[in-house]
């Protein structure tokens, strides 16, 4: 269960000016729900995602995930929370171009220091699931956009997170690949993941497996 209570987030532009990204918003997301946050660029969608992922702290209000006040976590505990609970899919994938698919996918597991067998097992599981096994040793820079997206999804799932967060996941994909991504989302939803997607791609609207679509506009919902 994710709860955002009376969240306001302001960013400093300079010493005197601030921009209000979110204005006193309240939002509850149940476990296993798939939520679409839709709205124009700059409406505050990504800020909501960054707060849920504990990448950012609110200016006021609180973010509670499974009863834990994650907006109050010190940085070292916020990192552990992200590692254990969050799978993040970024608009530009945020993969490391000069290392292989396998190495990119395994990155989130490095701090856990698992043994080689455990690593192989988790790696093979996500690579098969997201159909990227044949590119295991390929450098990421040699992959197509769609393949990079699948690597990003595999990386987001390798530590079996409860929550998947996707920020404009289809912004760099053509329609066919976007539809494929939506199919993957459906599978993740079926697997019981809580999913929050921020997008303004109309392909995501009115999908039957989406629980709620929430319009974000000028920092309000």
């Amino acid at each position: 269960m994710i709860e955002l209570k009376n969240i306001t987030k302001m960013y400093d532009l300079n010493k005197t000016d601030q921009v209000v990204a979110l204005k006193d918003i309240n939002l509850s997301i149940n476990e296993g729900e798939l939520i679409i946050l839709k709205g124009a660029s700059g409406s505050g969608k990504s800020t909501i995602l960054s707060l849920i992922a504990a990448l950012n702290k609110p200016t006021s209000g609180e973010v509670i995930v499974d009863g834990k006040k994650i907006s109050k976590l010190p940085d070292n505990f916020a990192s552990t929370y992200r590692r254990d609970n969050i799978g993040f899919i970024f608009q530009k994938y945020n993969l490391i171009a000069d290392i292989s698919v396998k190495e990119n996918i395994l990155l989130p597991l490095i701090p856990l220091n698992p043994n080689a067998d455990e690593l192989d097992e988790k790696l093979n599981l996500v690579m098969e699931k997201f159909k990227i096994s044949h590119k295991k040793e390929t450098l990421v820079k040699n992959l197509s956009g769609g393949e990079q997206q699948r690597v990003a999804i595999a990386r987001a799932n390798v530590n079996s997170p409860k929550i998947i967060i996707a920020d404009e996941p289809t912004a760099n994909l053509d329609e066919k690949l976007s539809l494929h991504f939506i199919e993957i989302l459906k599978e993740l939803k079926t697997a019981g993941k809580t999913i929050v997607v921020a997008t303004h791609d109309p392909l995501f609207f009115d999908l039957d497996f989406v629980d709620r679509e929430i319009e974000v506009s000028n920092g309000t919902i």
Binding site: K5, N6, T8, K57, P58, S60, K72, P74
Partner: protein, 319 residues
């Protein structure tokens, strides 16, 4: 004013430390007065961000200051080479009116800094940062001790006149000078040794009984009695001279710098002992502090005991 590279290093570091610690002081005061971990207000989130920055500033100042104490002693020793009459750091400490105060302040601060670092380390282990208010409140007091040290240190180095002839340690720590220190040296060595080994025995008893406060307080007594016996009794066996009572000479190469080892063992052992009583921590960490304390204190006692024992075995008499 004496400006050798070592003194310049200390003074420049002090200016940097004073600047950053003043910033940290005002932020600490703000955090201490307004901290409420349960609040979701803008002020609290601002304080949470500032607390991380402030704690980092204080942490690095103190992490540098603790080993800098040994560098300070090394510097005194270096100055003694160019100060007429001084044979070791003791002459430099006694060269001005501020040396002894500075030395006492530095030893107190050593424990204060280490206590803050231990409290901070404990605070960072918990999600709800239970000791944040305490550690910043503690710093607002420690800051004045820290600032006093910086000022007295600057004044002391500024007051050293190379044209003056100063006393050597043989005169300063002589039992015939009539000073407070000389009265300590006039005390019966048997009584002092009984106190020294007696307090160490108490440490062992409280270690096995796990009496936190008693163990911590015994450690405070142990620091005092250890320093006194080191100067009055054990030091004479390190120098192999019955009349030489100096807490600095054994820091020199003639004595294989054994003083640095002795002081490090004593200060580390007693700090962990005090921490075992006064640092709020888990049972596991407290047990670890107990073990570290007793280990370092035991090594200290063994090492100082070794000198008279070896002397007796070699010569068949006591000094």
């Amino acid at each position: 004013m004496i400006l050798i590279p070592e003194v310049l290093t200390i003074l420049i570091l002090n200016v940097i430390f004073a600047f950053f610690s003043t910033i940290a002081f005002f932020l600490s005061l703000k955090i201490y007065l307004n901290w409420d971990i349960n609040s979701n207000s803008t002020l609290q989130y601002t304080l949470e961000k500032q607390s991380y920055l402030t704690a980092t500033i204080i942490k690095y100042i103190f992490i540098i200051k603790v080993p800098l104490f040994l560098f300070f002693i090394f510097t005194l020793d270096k100055i003694s080479n160019i100060l007429t009459g001084a044979m070791c750091g003791a002459g430099v400490v006694d060269a001005t009116d501020y040396g002894n105060y500075l030395f006492v302040l530095k030893i107190i601060n050593l424990y204060v800094f280490a206590y803050w670092l231990a409290l901070h380390a404990e605070d960072m282990k918990h999600e709800n940062q239970p000791y944040t208010k305490a550690k910043f409140g503690f710093f607002t007091i420690a800051f004045f001790l820290f600032l006093s040290e910086i000022i007295v240190e600057g004044v002391m180095f500024g007051s050293i006149d190379l044209n003056d002839i100063v006393s050597c340690c043989g005169t300063i720590y002589s039992s015939s000078t009539g000073s407070y220190i000389s009265q300590i040296f006039a005390m019966n060595p048997t009584l002092l040794l009984s106190l020294f080994y007696g307090v160490f025995t108490l440490l062992l008893i409280f270690f096995f009984l796990k009496r936190n406060y008693a163990f911590a307080i015994s450690n405070i007594f142990f620091i005092l009695i250890s320093i006194v016996t080191l100067i009055t009794f054990f030091g004479t066996y390190i120098y192999e001279l019955p009349s030489h009572h100096c807490p600095f000479c054994f820091l020199q190469s003639d004595y294989y710098y054994v003083g640095y080892l002795l002081y490090t063992l004593l200060f580390t052992g007693t700090f962990y002992g005090i921490a075992a009583g006064f640092i709020p921590t888990s049972d596991e960490n407290r047990t670890l502090n107990y073990k570290k304390s007793i280990l370092f204190n035991f090594l200290y006692v063994s090492l100082v005991t070794l000198y008279p024992t070896l002397y007796y075995i070699k010569n068949g008499v006591w000094l």
